[in-house]
């Protein structure tokens, strides 16, 4: 009894509830993809999750830790996020490899959930995009009439197309209408094309308190501003903004990758700075990067400075408020 410390009552919220919320939001994205492409995308996500969980178990064995750790759901979230940015026609082993890399190389050596410096999912995606760009960035044309085969590899019979992001990078004029953009009826990664669903996921997660609007809103505002200031060639300015923000990875990054609680700043002002800098960097790397998922590299880069950003923004904010308070008191006494 002596070790009981105040407060004697705690909130019901637990770490696993946060990851559960994120996993829950990936469900509608999978369903959307299943409706468009058949069962294959769902299997890709499931295999990815499985690989992440098995990798976590292996790491637990090596660290002589209890297997109970996987109950926090963080490995499943990493696996799900890697699965969701794959092309629907990717081979199953690709996301599995990415998820295993994320857990074994990026997360476990630092001490597991809560101690990792870099976002494991972003690192997994970044490695895959550099190792297998051909497999990752070849997308089938969205059609609910012809579901993809569920075999290990998809043959040449599937009609493929460049993604919207690749078209914009190549200064081509996309043939996708605005309505198609909003409804997600275009070629792209499994869970990153359903624009409306992703926005709904973001709203749900903000309402649940799982992610912070201090990051999400500045991120999207900055992305839209950059897209408006530097429009893509061959399209109107407004269409360019919509297309660049909705083009696959930018929206997905804004909802999931920049909101990984472990690797982002915690203080609200630092979160705001993080969102703005992520927006600028993501748009920059999307435009000039070698691969079309430049956002993962932007996130990894920002992860490395997030703790410093967190502390220094707090120092600045503390001194500014103190200065303002002193000035106010001096005024009151005059």
């Amino acid at each position: 009894m002596n070790n009981i410390t105040a407060p004697h009552i705690r909130t019901e919220a637990a770490s696993r509830h946060l990851t559960r919320d994120v996993l829950l939001t990936t469900l509608p994205l999978c369903i959307f993809s299943a409706v468009t492409y058949g069962v294959r995308p769902v299997l890709i996500v499931l295999f990815s999750i499985l690989s992440a969980i098995v990798s976590e178990c292996v790491c637990c064995l090596f660290r002589r830790q209890s297997m109970q750790v996987i109950r926090d759901g963080s490995a499943a979230v990493t696996g799900a996020l890697i699965g969701l940015v794959m092309s629907p026609m990717v081979d199953y082993w690709v996301p599995m490899l990415g998820a295993a890399f994320a857990i074994i190389v990026v997360k476990a050596p630092f001490g597991g959930y809560g101690r990792n410096v870099f976002n494991p999912a972003a690192a997994g995606i970044a490695v895959l995009s550099y190792c297998f760009p051909q497999r990752m960035f070849t997308y089938p044309i969205a059609s609910s009439m012809n579901p993809l085969p569920t075999g290990m590899s998809v043959g040449d019979e599937v009609v493929t197309s460049l993604s919207l992001a690749a078209q914009l990078r190549a200064d081509a004029t996309p043939s996708i209408t605005r309505m198609q953009l909003i409804l997600g009826d275009f070629a792209g990664p499994i869970g990153a094309t359903a624009t409306l669903l992703l926005v709904a996921c973001a709203v749900y997660l903000i309402c649940r308190g799982t992610i912070s609007c201090w990051t999400v809103v500045p991120y999207f505002a900055t992305c839209a501003l950059v897209a408006w200031l530097f429009p893509a060639a061959g399209v109107s300015r407004m269409y360019g903004v919509l297309a660049q923000v909705c083009a696959g990875y930018v929206l997905f990054t804004g909802v999931f990758l920049i909101n990984d609680t472990v690797t982002t700043p915690r203080f609200w002002f630092a979160r705001l700075l993080y969102g703005v800098s992520a927006g600028v960097l993501v748009m920059l790397l999307q435009r000039i990067g070698r691969v079309e998922c430049g956002c993962c590299f932007a996130i990894l880069l920002l992860n490395s400075i997030a703790p410093i950003m967190d502390r220094w923004s707090w120092y600045v904010w503390r001194y500014v408020t103190r200065f303002l308070r002193i000035r106010q008191e001096v005024k009151a006494h005059e």
């Binding site: 009894m1 002596n2 070790n3 009981i4 410390t5 105040a6 407060p7 004697h8 009552i9 705690r10 909130t11 919220a13 637990a14 770490s15 509830h17 946060l18 926090d72 001490g111 597991g112 959930y113 809560g114 101690r115 308190g209 912070s212 609680t261 472990v262 690797t263 982002t264 700043p265 915690r266 203080f267 609200w268 979160r271 967190d310 502390r311 707090w314 120092y315 503390r318 408020t321 106010q328 009151a332």
Partner: protein
């Protein structure tokens, strides 16, 4: 007023206690009146051993202030008592008898600054917010005549009770609202403040009834966040005293009554129903718990659910500064997990600190960094621990950091003596 209102919305679990009548519990066992911290400092007593004393009869004087018996009974002698909050205390033991004799002071006809403070000192009124004598507070805050600062100052009677269980202040507002307002008015007069009000967060229907009773301008409603930081919507200096102390001041000035009793909330899942009880100071806590039907196996927490101190032994006297006693059934303690960086502790911290960063620095033994993190601003409200999804004792760690910052090397022994 901070730029962003912080704090956490707590679930209210006050039950029927705020609406039920206050249960008067009289002592059947001995009552302990603290006299000094150590036996060597024992003051000279005005009464002899085994003599009969009236309630309010002066036993001795400590620092020129009277110490009196809170019940009528027989003065047996003195003994050392161990109190979980104040440590060992030398106490006078009064055994209750059938006598109902009460000693009072002469009422004050036309109270002015000095007579009000003197009456508070003679009636030995303690502020229930912190257990400090009201007279000391009034002397400290008293403004000089024609001091411009008095115009920017406001005296607030704190009746917020924003804890999960506590409701004793709401009981005072239900039963003695006008007396409490008079006491507050007199305290403001003693301080030469022209502005005063009662700050509360009562439910809407009771708030309306209170405003009808004592006037809209005398009631300020604060937000539901814990802890309360806004007692007034202006930017003026706020001085807080407890509502029970206000009611006691009114009784002392009008009827000459001494402050012998307090209202205490006994709540938690270890009692059949939450109750507010009126008990004399110095009464054994065990007796109060028995009167409320508390489960003897349950854990007793002295104070509210957010900051209370658990106590193993319940045989100690009730002293000023405590308005809530919780009786909690033992529950499984969650194993702390690594910080997942959700940042909720920083969001709810009303002092604007970075609790997670302080804990990280403490765990990594970066003690020299702690002084940049303003750990001294922490008042230990416990909101950060409450919201932590990883179940970590953040508040305790921040308080530890506050104690050890920069001096950890001295605590390792030998260094300070060299």
């Amino acid at each position: 007023m901070p730029l962003f209102l912080r704090g956490v919305a707590l679930p209210f679990n006050k039950g029927q206690a705020p609406d039920a009548d206050v249960l008067a519990v009289s002592a059947t066992g001995p009552v302990y009146i603290p006299l000094a911290k150590e036996e060597a400092d024992a003051p000279t007593l005005c009464v002899e051993e085994n003599s009969t004393v009236a309630a309010g009869q002066v036993l001795c004087h400590v620092d020129r202030l009277p110490v009196f018996s809170t019940i009528a009974g027989k003065f047996i002698g003195t003994t050392m008592v161990n109190h979980p909050l104040y440590g060992s205390l030398l106490c006078a033991v009064i055994k209750p008898t059938r006598s109902k004799r009460v000693e009072t002071l002469p009422p004050v006809e036309e109270p002015d600054t000095d007579t009000i403070i003197e009456a508070a000192a003679q009636a030995c009124i303690y502020d229930e917010l912190d257990g400090i004598p009201l007279a000391d507070k009034l002397r400290l805050w008293r403004m000089a005549e024609n001091d411009q600062a008095a115009l920017r100052s406001i005296l607030v009677a704190d009746a917020t009770e924003n804890d999960i269980y506590g409701s004793s202040a709401w009981c005072i507002l239900k039963e003695q609202a006008q007396e409490a307002l008079y006491g507050l008015q007199m305290a403001a007069r003693a301080l030469r403040f022209s502005r005063y009000h009662i700050t509360t967060m009562l439910p809407r229907n009771r708030r309306r009834a209170l405003k009808r009773l004592i006037g809209r301008e005398n009631v300020f409603t604060t937000g539901d966040e814990y802890p309360v930081t806004v007692y007034d919507d202006s930017r003026d200096d706020v001085f807080c005293i407890g509502i029970q102390a206000c009611a006691a001041l009114s009784a002392a000035l009008q009827q000459g009554q001494k402050h012998t009793h307090t209202i205490l909330t006994v709540a938690g899942d270890g009692v059949p129903a939450s109750r507010n009880v009126r008990v004399p100071f110095g009464m054994d806590l065990e007796e109060v718990l028995q009167a409320c039907g508390a489960d003897p196996e349950a854990t007793v927490i002295l104070g509210d659910a957010m900051t209370g101190v658990p106590c193993q032994n319940t045989h100690f006297p009730l002293l000023p500064g405590i308005t809530t006693v919780l009786v909690m059934q033992s529950h499984a303690v969650r194993t702390p997990q690594p910080c997942i960086g959700c940042g909720r502790c920083a969001t709810v911290c009303h002092a604007g600190l970075l609790p997670y960063e302080i804990v990280r620095r403490l765990e990594n033994m970066h003690y020299e960094r702690l002084r940049y993190l303003s750990t001294t601003s922490c008042d230990g409200c416990g909101a950060c621990s409450y919201v932590c999804p990883a179940g970590r004792d953040v508040a305790t760690q921040v308080l530890n950091a506050n104690e050890t910052r920069g001096t950890i090397f001295l605590n390792w022994g030998g260094v300070e003596n060299e």
